[in-house]
Symmetry: C2
Amino acid sequence: MSFISPRNMILAGAMLWATQAFAAGGHADPVAPILLALIVILLTAKLAGALFERLGQPAVLGELLGGVLLGNLILLNPAWNFFEPLRASVIQQDWAVVLDSLARLGVIILLFEVGFESSVKGMMQVGASSFIVAIIGVIAPFILGYAVSWIFIKELPAQLAAMVPADFSLSYVHMFMGAVLCATSVGITARVFKDLGKLQTKEAQIILGAAVIDDVLGLIILAIVAGIISAAQAGQALALGEIVRLIVLALVFIGGTLALGHFLLPKLMAQIAKLRASGMMLLVALVLAFGLSYLANAIGLAAIIGAFAAGLILEEEHFKSFRDKFKLEDLLKPLAAVLVPIFFVLMGIQVRLETFANLSVLGVAAGITLTAIIGKQVCGLGALQKGLDRVTIGVGMIPRGEVGLIFAGIGKSLNVIDDATFSAVVIMVIVTTLVTPPVLKLTLARREKALAGG
Amino acid sequence: MSFISPRNMILAGAMLWATQAFAAGGHADPVAPILLALIVILLTAKLAGALFERLGQPAVLGELLGGVLLGNLILLNPAWNFFEPLRASVIQQDWAVVLDSLARLGVIILLFEVGFESSVKGMMQVGASSFIVAIIGVIAPFILGYAVSWIFIKELPAQLAAMVPADFSLSYVHMFMGAVLCATSVGITARVFKDLGKLQTKEAQIILGAAVIDDVLGLIILAIVAGIISAAQAGQALALGEIVRLIVLALVFIGGTLALGHFLLPKLMAQIAKLRASGMMLLVALVLAFGLSYLANAIGLAAIIGAFAAGLILEEEHFKSFRDKFKLEDLLKPLAAVLVPIFFVLMGIQVRLETFANLSVLGVAAGITLTAIIGKQVCGLGALQKGLDRVTIGVGMIPRGEVGLIFAGIGKSLNVIDDATFSAVVIMVIVTTLVTPPVLKLTLARREKALAGG
């Protein structure tokens, strides 16, 4: 590697310094910091991903840890704070807002791709298993989360206590902690299965279906618990109508999407093909993905649920009369190659390693992390079909990712959890996110060995 | 088109309304307005582009006019103000900042693609012509712009007069107007040639080369004029060192890029190929494009000049030992298909049709627009080779686009031009941008007919 020699690195650094030092105001373009951040993030993602693939690990683990490295450079030198704006709880600097949005578009494209590789038929075949896995995956963590909260949290958070009637029960706080542990973030798991080419396995399909149902169930539980708490804070009873409306909307969304896919999409596609315009395939696919993501978000579901649903109802054969030269999956790949790593590197960047240094927080964190992992392990037992790898299913449901963070953020804004508990939840999210790729890789390899041996 | 019937449209509208009206706060995702804007912009771009292609016009004209329509819906109904945040002089709302950045990335990808379809060798062959075309394309508009300003502007703008010594010459204002007319925005022209599959013609290559040189020359003139004016405002003489530094940096950038392409890139690519990681081609290409765009911007050139240079030095054969399944141009296409139309629709959205309603502004606007067009028409004469279509070259140099707006914005911030003159410059930019695609299409068709006839 004589080309990437220290001498050349220094030369390149000097050139970069010179251009920055002598920068004139000519066209000063707000895209400049975005370009710089994209270069660093994409290079880090590719190099770390390739390294981990060579070590036999999924590329996504490399991207996550590469991000952890970038974000925590500041611990080595306070001047290396370039990525701090990406770690703020409310992102404010323009370039950081753009990067954050690119990451969000990235995870939408990822779930759309994953949905496109699945089919409604395949999901239906494992539908019963998915449903039971999801139900267990909500009940078990809820009960365990309640229990851990009951062990560790002995009094109301000070700010909450000041706002509620004296007879406000601590059990609502425990219920909220239970709700936080219900969420499943399917992005990590889907990516690992995709990296390893295992998306078509029954286990993957069950997890994907269960994650969708989990999101709906988690949302309902969160709405109920948050509703009870806000109502108590206002001295009122819970408005049940809101929750019923939420459930109806979620069911209408899922039913409507399936009806759209079954009845309308084939006809619509035939009409669009008649336009005979070039490049329509990618446009139609993205409009469907973005549109259902938008609708899902509008009714309170995660946007990625909409993206997954869009991919699910879209089939390769819908495009048979389109005039495109390439397949849809080949057109999505370059978009995914640019956007998806941004999401995972940013998740890594947002990990604050210093949170692990607070011992009292660490105790609570260890408790809820263990709970989070055990709670989802029970899930595997819900899979009905014979010969399934129930451990893999349980492991695949572990990551809480950004969904757990969103739930915890709501809890913080309601004052149900205090800063220390919030930090513990963040550690739980980090650990469940980072352990899943290597463990999943392990259980899948073990499974393959067992199948080959049998 | 029974499927897109009024009844179905109303149903779809009602569904959208219902979801928005009943929106719960579950996962409220900041990506939602971005998704909505992307859907509207991409659909408008594709439908308007396909319509104009069917009418025998370049797709880019449809995208521009589709954008004009979207941006000016507010004139029909003040409530249709969704796109107003994209029209602010300083874009502030987060979703609008993201869309604006996507557009900027889009024009970078476009110029990178255009550069990739050109070669250093091809540019060298027409280098002398490009140089003379560029020189004439700067001198002629500068003199004409000075003359028009001399005719229309009889006294210093009030704000400027208050800031400068009493003996401050009005000729500096005329010089600034001349500088504003020098800029060539090559995005539109490059896109038209690309739409029509004519990027390989000598005319296209001459224009592209001239546009790069124009950017450098325009930048130098702007720096000199702006330097004189700021110095006069501060009661000092012009710091010549800054301008010399600018010229040296621009020459170093161009020379350095060519050296990078000739000596280092082949070796670097061979090293990267040895890593044997998948998906490296797109990464390497984008890092090069983003990196040179960043450097160009850092030394005060337009970012797109860097993107074009990156494409120019990159050759298909650099990737011969890479393990990629597709060609680079096929990988860039989906990215370009999403990002490039955003740039042109946004340019259309930013056109304020109401500026055409002010009669006194319209007079100045007509003067400088005519000047802008005639000034670049002289360029064609600078093309040396026999048998070239000199009218096409002149027409291709007409658009001022965002570069003209940036120059005018600097003038406004220096108080050299007042609001009315700024509006006139905006109209000039709009007209030169909108007339180029159809006229270029016309001259190219006439040329083809003449060649077929001869």
